[in-house]
Symmetry: C2
Subunit: 126 residues, 2 copies
């Protein structure tokens, strides 16, 4: 990737289910009850199970690579993520471009209720 | 989590295989050839398939949550990631604490050859 694209930021939208989370637990070996045990989730501060961090980031990565028209962020890419709220089973997440300054972009990833789950910035090396 | 733990940063170590990547493709629907097609990977600038971004981050998240003794980063957690090199099938990744300043930590995630694949900082809300 030799330059940052100038087109609109793609609004990839992804749906997360308990099945997505369970399969990620199998893949990663991370079976923390907060992710996979509905009773433990319900008894927690979150009031239900929540997605693993990498799953919560999935929509942002998908949008970023579509925007870059590249299979992966190029080496040197810096990503700054603030976790605002948990991603839960049943959520549909999409990310919106909020600000752009040259090779830096600021996005917000929202669930179907309009709650920001992740604020993410990326700086693409030139 | 009311305070940042003071113990050593745990050195979670995770092994990534083509099977891990294929299962993540099934889970996310991201079948970009750079991840799942060995011939396409071999013909690319990377010389082989590479892991999806969230898979590359998995070891850092695992280490961070073990360090926090929490199932998930608390709301307000800021994570700053620089992608240095691709994570490839066969890699075993572990993360090391390099610097700590109060509630900010800086880590490096290395593969089995000692190559840094990701530099990651985290700031934990108090």
């Amino acid at each position: 990737v030799s330059s940052v694209p100038t087109d609109e930021f793609p609004s990839a939208s992804e749906h997360v289910t308990q099945e997505t989370i369970n399969r990620y637990a199998d893949l990663s070996g991370d079976y923390n009850p907060i992710h996979v045990d509905e009773a433990a989730g319900a008894a927690s501060e979150f009031g239900g199970t929540i997605a693993h961090g990498p799953i919560a980031l999935q929509t942002f990565f998908r949008s970023l690579t579509e925007w870059l028209e590249a299979p992966a962020p190029p080496a040197g890419t810096v990503i700054n993520i603030t976790f605002r709220a948990p991603t839960r089973p049943g959520d549909t997440i999409h990310c919106e471009l909020r600000e752009r300054d040259g090779d830096e972009i600021a996005t917000e990833c929202l669930n179907q209720d309009g709650t920001t789950v992740i604020s993410a910035k990326a700086t693409i090396p030139q």
